[in-house]
Symmetry: C2
DNA sequence: AGCCACATTCTAACATGCTAGTATGAATTC
DNA sequence: GAATTCATACTAGCATGTTAGAATGTGGCT
């Protein structure tokens, strides 16, 4: 049974200074491992091994897995086992729905009152994006992409909204890894720029439209990818639980 | 110190059939107590008393409180204590933002493809709403109000979105209790009807506008109420942590 | 009298032990 | 040989024990 060692070497360090925050760090470590595909979809998680590897007890691990289940990254089968959630097309759609709704409303709501320093931050970010896209720096571009959206939510000041969007984005990141391409970077850059333009013009509706267009473009590519690599997806047609 | 008994009599029963789901039931019980204002904002929670009252150990209670913190209903002060979150104006704004974004996008996305049975369900619900409003049945109307929004998300089929909206709505329910009035019911009914009209006409944008108008109307009343009863709110101006 | 240091006490966070439910595989029966 | 039943091993969920940190109140000091 335990033919594979399950050493979980790739997991980050969770040793913290004081007492508090252990659970949060465990969440972070496992989430990172899942999103980076070090833990591929469908992998069974050995809780005991996780505890020994991270040097913590089962309490924080249990709670961490529970939260990750809420985020849709793992699937807990009661009394049976916990596995890394397979990527379901329905989840991809849902996560993109969440991002479309919240991010569009964010820019719509910001356009009217957005301050100059916000625009400046976005402009600076886009300059870096352009450079990263031209240099073909995939990882750098990804970081800047995240930062672009983060800047917007920072300006909005809604912590829970930000957390929700981040959660939705993480649910998509496992696929995005496979999607990252130079052409996509250039397109993303242009789409981001359109958002900025609309924000600068204080046109909320246009900003929302630009954001939706951006996310829909990503969605379209993800779906194309899904067609090409059906093996990493679970249950395309059945058990999707669409409204009856 | 323990001059008050802290009997927590109002808490519902959490005894379940089998082994699983205890934590979920504890969450439900405490959440209900908070939303119904049996546990007023600012109340300190006695974890041990909760355990004895509910007949469970500290494990499910801890996890339940942790989840409720994520929902913004309680505030955990490390090593110090847990209190029922005071209602912050910023949270009200955030929760309404979430609802506006997700519910508007929901009806926008549904308008194009909405099926006849969905419209029928909504129509039936609105007939009941009208009856409840005219009869002055506050509790009944509230239930129907929830059902109206639930029907929409049921049709959408996105579980996590539904959970997010529900969480946001619960964060607002503590105030809504104080706001529930006959006039508000009539207005709500009319606003709901506008949403239905637009859905029936397959006009997504109009449906979204109607939904936003509905939620904004609620928001306006909540803010008016906030002015009138500032005592239940915490820190109007300071420590709101708006983007610096 | 006002202020500061210290100790007590309370709490959440963490570790560990235990139980029940599930799945798997082997043995038995048809 | 195939299907079914039973035993075993494994897992999540729950209970309980332990520890570290924070608030508060008290005593001494200025």
């Amino acid at each position: 049974m335990n033919s594979e060692a399950k050493s979980y070497d790739f997991l980050g360090d969770v040793s913290g200074p004081g007492r508090g925050g252990t659970t949060a760090r465990v969440v972070e470590a496992i989430r990172e491992a899942i999103v980076s595909l070090d833990l591929p979809p469908g992998t069974q998680l050995d809780k005991a091994a996780l505890c020994t590897r991270l040097g913590v007890s089962r309490f924080p691990v249990s709670e961490a897995l529970s939260r990750l289940q809420a985020e849709g990254l793992v699937e807990i089968r009661p009394q049976s086992g916990t596995i890394v959630a397979r990527i379901r097309l329905a989840d991809v759609r849902e996560n993109l729905f969440i991002r479309r709704a919240l991010e569009a409303e964010a820019v719509r709501s910001l356009a009217g009152t957005c301050r100059a320093d916000l625009l400046d931050s976005l402009r600076r970010n886009l300059r870096y994006q352009k450079a990263a896209a031209e240099a073909g720096d995939r990882k750098g571009f990804h970081v800047l992409d995240l930062a672009f959206h983060d800047i917007i939510f920072q300006a909005l000041g809604f912590e829970r909204v930000k957390a929700m969007v981040e959660s939705a984005r993480l649910g998509l990141d496992r696929i995005r890894r496979l999607l990252s391409s130079r052409r996509r970077h250039e397109l993303t850059f242009q789409e981001h720029e359109a958002v900025l333009q609309a924000l600068a013009a204080h046109d909320g509706e246009a900003a929302a439209r630009a954001m939706v267009a951006h996310l829909d473009a990503v969605m379209a590519e993800l779906l194309t990818l899904a067609e090409a690599q059906p093996d990493i997806f679970a249950d395309q047609a059945r058990t999707q639980g669409l409204a009856t």
